[in-house]
């Protein structure tokens, strides 16, 4: 809740106008019965002028009510949207300060939910608060006070009614929130089965499991049906019970008025207003409890948003002017453990690669290849040891310097929606069509880009869905090389390229980016066979280093990998 206060303060004018409008609205609602009463009295007294006068007042009250209602809606909407927009912007900007580890802590999809659904919830509750909720306490208190003024002797009837209603509401809504929780769970289960069957429809059909899957689906679905029936039953009892309680209270009050009619005869005239005040109290309690359940969800959302805002980015970069760094890389006894893991992913890794050289990294899945590469542009910091580029510890370099010096191409690094040129200019704002072309040629992408009708201005769809796997990778490499980085990391970035194109990419890198150090992580030996140095990784350790020939001769793990990819013995094709 505290999170919201600064935002509400920022829009205090809107909040105030909305609240004042609500007060006017409540006043109009409570005033109307009184006015009616005077009109009635005037009719009884045959007093035409008062009838006209108060009748006009009644119309004025209605018009004031409409205007106040509209003003309230307009300013509540302005307030809610202002708060939601600013909160979302702050959240987004905060997430943009996050380091790799922070993204992994929350997971990307989770962060997306917080910025979309959760903000939506908060927006809804702010809107509802200033439209509805502020009205409830006023109506409740107004009704209560007026009821007490009308029949002070009967305070205990009101009290008993309130106690019963509130008790019923508490019991019912407690049960309801449990049932709602269960419903949520069951809906998720139902969706999981549906999703699995959608994705695995071929498996289901080929194993002829349609009927069994229907039975699997029926289980959560039937339970969901039963739980929703239970919820319906609670509501079916709840509402009539409220009304019955209120009406019994009225009957009791009237009965008591009857018993004491001879003592307080004036009370008889007050019965009808007493009745309407009691129903006002009842409505306030009912609406209040509904708002509570609604608000609970928003509070959960607010908590989730706050978690992100409270999470300080796990990494800060050195301040200072940008500087040039050379492309040589050194790992000096580096050990690294992922947050939350108990076993280090990298253990005592040391190596050096000269500027302009090519480093290959091979090893089984999970051996730490990608982790090693991620330490170079300081996506994570090591537990111990040092990572140096250009002879400087990366922790001493400003962020911009590192980002300019190191280009990291991930296996699944898609472009963002926009055009190809937009994506390239994001990395290299001064890029001309000649620069773009040169980069695309290195990545072997120029040919297919230039065959597109709009060439470099061709649109990129979300997730680069309009390009094939190989094209995506070539585009990503184009983006990687366009700014002439000192260090280029290709993390399995050529897996969808055939050997021929891959060779052409590497030759182009050799030729056109002579001073760029290239780090290549690959499953295929053929991708790194030309490297100046190859690191063989196994369970977080470097178990071999050298050229292809050296490793083939003396490294067993390298030999094992190589065996699986080597051409079959026998006649070699020409």
């Amino acid at each position: 809740m505290k999170v919201l206060i600064p935002y509400l303060k920022r829009y205090w004018v809107n909040a105030t106008v909305a609240t004042v409008a609500v007060l006017v609205l409540v006043f109009a609602t409570l005033w109307q019965p009184r006015l009616l009463q005077t009109v009635m009295e005037a009719i009884m007294a045959n007093d035409k002028s008062t009838v006209w006068q108060d009748g006009l007042w009644l119309i004025a009250l209605a018009v004031i009510g409409i205007i106040a209602g509209i003003i309230n809606t307009v300013y509540s909407a302005k307030l809610a949207l202002g708060v939601a927009t600013d909160l979302r912007a702050d959240l987004y900007q905060h997430v943009q300060k996050f380091a790799y580890a922070d993204i992994e802590t929350f997971s990307a999809s989770n962060l997306v939910v917080r910025m979309t659904n959760d903000i939506q919830q908060v927006q809804g509750v702010v809107m509802a608060t200033f439209q509805q909720v502020t009205r409830i306490p006023f109506l409740f208190l107004g009704g209560l006070i007026l009821a007490l003024i009308t029949m002070p002797q009967q305070w205990w009837v009101i009290l008993i009614m309130l106690v019963i209603i509130v008790a019923v509401a508490i019991v019912a809504f407690k049960q309801l929130s449990r049932l709602f929780g269960r419903t949520q769970q069951l809906i998720e289960n139902v969706n999981t089965v549906a999703r699995e069957n959608l994705m695995g429809i071929r498996v289901v059909k080929s194993f002829v499991q349609e009927d069994n899957q229907i039975a699997t689906f029926a289980k959560p679905s039937d339970e969901l049906r039963d739980v929703t029936t239970r919820i319906g039953e609670v509501f079916a009892v709840l509402m009539p019970a409220f009304f019955l309680t209120a009406n019994i209270a009225i009957a009791v009050a009237v009965y008591l008025v009857g018993q004491e009619a001879t003592l307080h005869p004036t009370y008889i005239a007050a019965i009808s207003s007493f009745t309407s005040y009691l129903s006002q109290i009842l409505f306030a309690v009912i609406n209040g409890s509904f708002m509570m359940t609604f608000a609970t969800r928003a509070f959960i959302s607010l908590k989730r948003i706050n978690e992100v805002l409270d999470h300080a980015p796990s990494m800060t970069f050195a301040e200072g002017p940008e500087r040039e760094v050379a492309g040589n890389i050194t790992f000096d006894h580096v050990t690294f453990t992922y947050p939350g893991d108990d076993k280090p992913t990298l253990q005592d890794v040391s190596f050096t690669i000269a500027a302009g050289d090519m480093l290959g990294i091979v090893g089984a899945t999970g051996s730490g290849k990608t982790t090693l590469a991620q330490l170079i542009p300081r996506l994570f910091d090591p537990d111990s040891g040092r990572v140096l580029i250009g002879g400087v510890d990366v922790r001493d370099l400003p962020e911009k310097t590192i980002r300019d010096a190191v280009a990291f191409v991930l296996q699944r690094s898609t472009l963002f929606s926009g055009t190809i040129a937009d994506n390239l200019k994001q990395v290299q704002p001064e890029a001309t069509s000649a620069t773009m072309r040169r980069a695309a040629e290195i990545a072997q992408a120029a040919e297919f880009i230039e065959r597109l009708p709009e060439a470099y201005n061709a649109p990129v769809e979300e997730r680069s869905a309009n390009f094939s796997g190989g094209q995506k990778q070539r585009l990503a490499i184009t983006r990687g090389v366009i700014a002439n980085p000192e260090i280029l990391i290709l993390d399995d970035a050529t897996s969808a390229l055939d050997a021929e194109s891959e060779k052409l990419v590497q030759e182009a890198l050799d030729r056109d980016l002579k001073h760029t150090t290239t780090v290549v992580i690959a499953e295929k030996i053929s991708s790194i066979i030309r490297a100046d140095q190859i690191l063989v990784m196994d369970e977080g350790r470097v178990v071999g280093a050298g050229t292809h020939r050296e490793l083939v001769a003396n490294n067993t793990i390298y030999q094992e990998i190589y065996q699986t990819q080597k051409a079959k013995e026998g006649r070699l094709p020409a």
Binding site: A28, L36, I43, V51, G55, L58, G65, I66, N72, T73, V74, L81, R88, A89, Q93, Q96, F98, A99, T116, V190, N191, R195, N197, I201, R202, V203, S206, F207, Q209, E210, D211, I214, A218, R225, G232, F235, A236, V237, P240, F243, N247, G258, Q259, I268, I271, S272, A364, T365, G366, L379, F408, S413, F416, Q426, V427, K524, T564, K566, A567, P573
Partner: protein
Amino acid sequence: MKDLKIAGRYYWHYLKPYGWGFLFTAILIGISTACVVIAPTYLGRAISELTEYLKLWSNPATRGGANLADFHGTLIAYVLFYFGDASSLLIASWLLAKITAYSTGTMRIGLFRKMQRMRVQYFDQHSDGDILARYTSDLDNIFNALNQALIDVFLAIAQLIGILIMMFNQNVTLAWITMATTPVALGLAAFVMHKAAAAVDQQQTDVGALNGYINEQVTGQKVIITNGLQKDSVAGFQVHNQTVRKTAERGQIWSGILSPLLSGLSLLNTAIVIFAGSWLALNGQMSTGAALALVVVFVNYAQQYYQPIITLTSLYGMIQLAITGARRIDEVRSQPDEVRPVNGKAINGIKSELKIDDVRFSYLPGKEILHGVTIDVQKGEMVALVGPTGSGKTTVMNLLNRFYDVDSGQITIDGVDLRDLDLTQLRQTVGIVLQDPQLFTGTIADNIRFGEPTAGMDRVIDAAKQANIHDFIISLPDGYDTKVSDEQNIFSAGQKQLMSIARTILTDPRLLILDEATSNVDTVTEAKIQKAMDNVIQGRTSFVIAHRLKTILNADRIVVLQHGRIIEQGSHQELLDEHGFYAKLYRNQMVFD
């Protein structure tokens, strides 16, 4: 309008069985409404009886005859009417809750059942998200509407009818006056709702764009970090965020003002009724007392009269969503089912050969994928399909299992066309291992015996051993009872692939189709999978769709497909000697010293 007709048909289908329930509910709601309308008159009577009593009591002469018996009786009647209201409303809501839960339950299972019967084509042509939305948002909208709107609509209509009857009973002139503003109110409501619909549409579009942007950027956050693009990302976000602020504000305002507007109009209408009533009272032929009573009664009616209208307009959006939801689900319901031959011929394994004979096939009319493919496979042979992406390799698998049917030509097993065979038996004969091994929520054991849920543990373990995954499974703390779930990826792609192979081994199919995994598996794991595949191929007729040539060097025959035609065919060595496409592919993929 067309939507309405489709939705009507859909709801008719699912709600028809509850006809008696609805009738009963309607009667109960009628009773409840009658009670609610009648009960206040008893309160009035109680007050006048009390006044009478007071009058008698105040006069010493009649004081002896004054008693509260009538008053008490009336009060009891008052409470009884509310009991009647509460109990009939309770039963009605309970009935409707049950009807809603059961009918939406049937809809949900009906949708799932339909999905299991539909042709694979539908799933290939629609995104998973779009189909899944039928379960999530569409069924949800239908449930909400049935759950909340149904009873409110019933009540509102009953209330409206009740009030109209009472009003016309009391005074026809005042009744017409009370109704006079209705067209204005409805016209205004229609105007605001129209505006709101347009504004909310725009809001949804812009919110969708914003959420899409956030999703794309944050999902690609690692790319943003590695390229240092944070500033650009924020700048792009701000544009969307501010647009949403503007359009959502409009949407919220237009959809938010309807309720205060109508409440205000109701108040205005009340004032008009008072004017008219007092004019009648002061200028009419009635006695002041009678006129006053009439005004009091009509003020009450005027206030209640708008309530059903307000309820119905506020439910409009919900009902609209339920109509759209029904239309979207009905679209799935009207899809054709898989074609199953009537009295399909029995099939018991493959006795001599499988023949693909001059098969032509297209997924979309006019875009032929296979242009006359012929492959003969003898029992026990292993045939490998090789070719670039889009050459039609995977299509052959789709045809063998009858996920799709050929356009022309035929596929036969021992001379019988696949389309004449019993579909269930055919699929039991053909086993497939897919590129992307979809596992299902449950334990590892459940997944291995997926094809035969009654299989004993010994057979599960045996299959796992043959698939080279037994050792890994027993190394897990929970062994074969380890939970598999879609969300947590505790298994690597390679391990999942091995489990899916075990799953196929267990069913012991006579014809095997293996679609090889392409990426995300390192070559050492790949070798392991290869060994498992060799085990499973042993003694069976098989097709292997190969992406890496290493796995198919021992095939009896290698068929090279390109653009839907067979361009080369033969053993590994024969194809190498041809120096053609295959030989080039082989050179590209392998490492040579």
